[in-house]
């Protein structure tokens, strides 16, 4: 007897369940879904529901602690292994970067590695100790350090770490080492960012920033980015820029300072007593975050092999507008949505 499309879809969806559960509950679940379809439910909706449940069951069986934990705890649980991996990679890279070689450039490489290693250690401590602000700061500093070094002149840590990674990883993975590290780092500092913007933002009217003000700030942020991109080797892609003679470490310090100011502004926003202070802090955060995000995206873009600066600039601008804009939409939406019960999210064993 030929099966209908609905039956075929449900049977296929049931395969998402882990084998032992499928053997035990597969028939009952398939029959229930088919009964629901016969009763008017959409077959696509039922099939997707089963696939989601199957995926949850698979994850839940494999990582019971993670899947049973509330979402926020689960993100913290992922931060610890992420930071551990970063620290381990840096240790693997140590024999290469620690090699005594003539010239001040290589001496700087050593300092650069040390700074990265300290930032990674701080991130690990923060992840273990659940120190959100420290994890945010060290995570973003790590992203900046690795992002800069991944494409910066000399590719100091990139080459060092890649050589280190070469010892333990297959050759084809080495080329992807830096971009992967950058992606991991981005996730690392996104976790506390999400945690940071939770309760205080929702109880505040988002600093009462209008859409037009936000637009102006993004435009100003992009202008800052373009100026830096043209003038400073820390941001720029133009080797013969007027400030090209500046040392790269000085430029990197500028970038880190910028990031530190953003961190300070975000912290001020969280603690602000008055609406005016909150507005100012939020404005500074958005204004400065835009060029930094653009820079990070560009660094990543170049790291994965793009050499066309026009394309890079386009992608960076698209992201630098899109990411803060999305963040603001989330902020404003969360502010406007009734807070009642928002902190009492239903605890689900996903």
């Amino acid at each position: 007897m030929r099966r209908s499309i609905g039956e075929t879809m449900i049977s296929a969806a049931i395969k998402a369940l882990p084998a032992p559960r499928r053997a035990e509950d597969g028939r009952a679940l398939a029959d229930l879904a088919l009964e629901a379809v016969a009763g008017g439910a959409g077959v696509g909706r039922e099939a997707i529901g089963i696939v989601k449940t199957g995926a949850r069951a698979r994850i839940g069986d494999r990582f019971p602690h993670l899947s049973a934990a509330p979402w926020r705890d689960a993100t913290w649980a992922t931060a610890v292994p992420l930071t551990t991996v970063i620290v381990l990679f840096l240790i693997v890279a140590l024999p290469t970067v620690g090699k005594p070689t003539p010239g001040i450039h290589h001496l700087l490489i050593g300092y650069w590695w040390l700074a990265t290693f300290i930032a990674a250690l701080l991130a690990l401590i923060a992840a273990c100790g659940r120190l959100r602000v420290l994890l945010f700061g060290s995570g973003i500093a790590l992203s900046a350090l690795v992002g800069y070094d991944a494409y910066g002149p000399g590719g100091s840590m990139r080459s060092g770490a890649s050589h280190g990674a070469d010892m333990v990883m297959p050759p084809f993975t080495v080329a992807w080492y830096s971009p992967l590290l950058l992606v991991v780092l981005s996730f690392l500092w996104l976790l506390p960012v999400i945690a940071l913007v939770r309760p205080p933002v929702r109880t505040r009217e988002s600093g009462k920033l209008k859409g037009s003000s936000l637009g102006k700030m993004f435009a100003a942020g992009i202008a800052i980015f373009i100026v830096f991109e043209r003038l400073s080797p820390a941001f720029g892609l133009v080797p013969d820029s007027p400030l090209g003679s500046l040392s790269t470490s000085a430029s990197a310090c500028t970038l880190l300072l910028l990031i530190a100011v953003i961190g300070f502004a975000v912290a001020s926003y969280r603690r602000a007593e008055s609406q005016e202070t909150a507005t100012l802090a939020l404005a500074i955060s958005i204004l400065l975050a835009t060029p930094v995000i653009a820079w990070l995206v560009m660094a990543f873009w170049l790291t994965i092999g793009a050499t066309n600066s026009v394309t890079s600039l386009f992608v960076a601008l698209a992201f630098s507008v899109g990411v803060p804009l999305s963040a603001c939409v989330v902020l404003i939406r969360r502010t406007l949505v009734d807070d009642a019960g928002a902190d009492n999210e239903p605890t689900q064993c996903a």
Binding site: A33, A41, I50, A57, P346
Partner: protein
Amino acid sequence: MYTVGMNISEQVYYTLLSLFEEPRHGYDIIGRAEDLSGGRVKLSAGTLYGALDRLESNGAVVLDREEIVNGRLRRFYRLTDSGAALLDTETERMRQATIAFKKVHRKATIDTNAKAAIA
């Protein structure tokens, strides 16, 4: 995991509520939950399966019996005492929240009216 004193989702709440009346099979739970929630909670088979699985492992519901109807396997679930206690606690929590809301709402309305009268 679901224990007394912990918030539960609306879907789980209506699943428990539909079982409070009598043991039901999956499709019956889906229909009853939709009725009780005024059409707001529309459980899919997969969602219900996941919820019942967790509730069963927590001891809030148990498998009552299995029946074959029109060639389809139906599993009937029954609410346990612990499941009833969980439902009770959650209902009380929502009742408290409603009282708090009414209190705040009434005060806000009085304040607004007073300001309007002064103006």
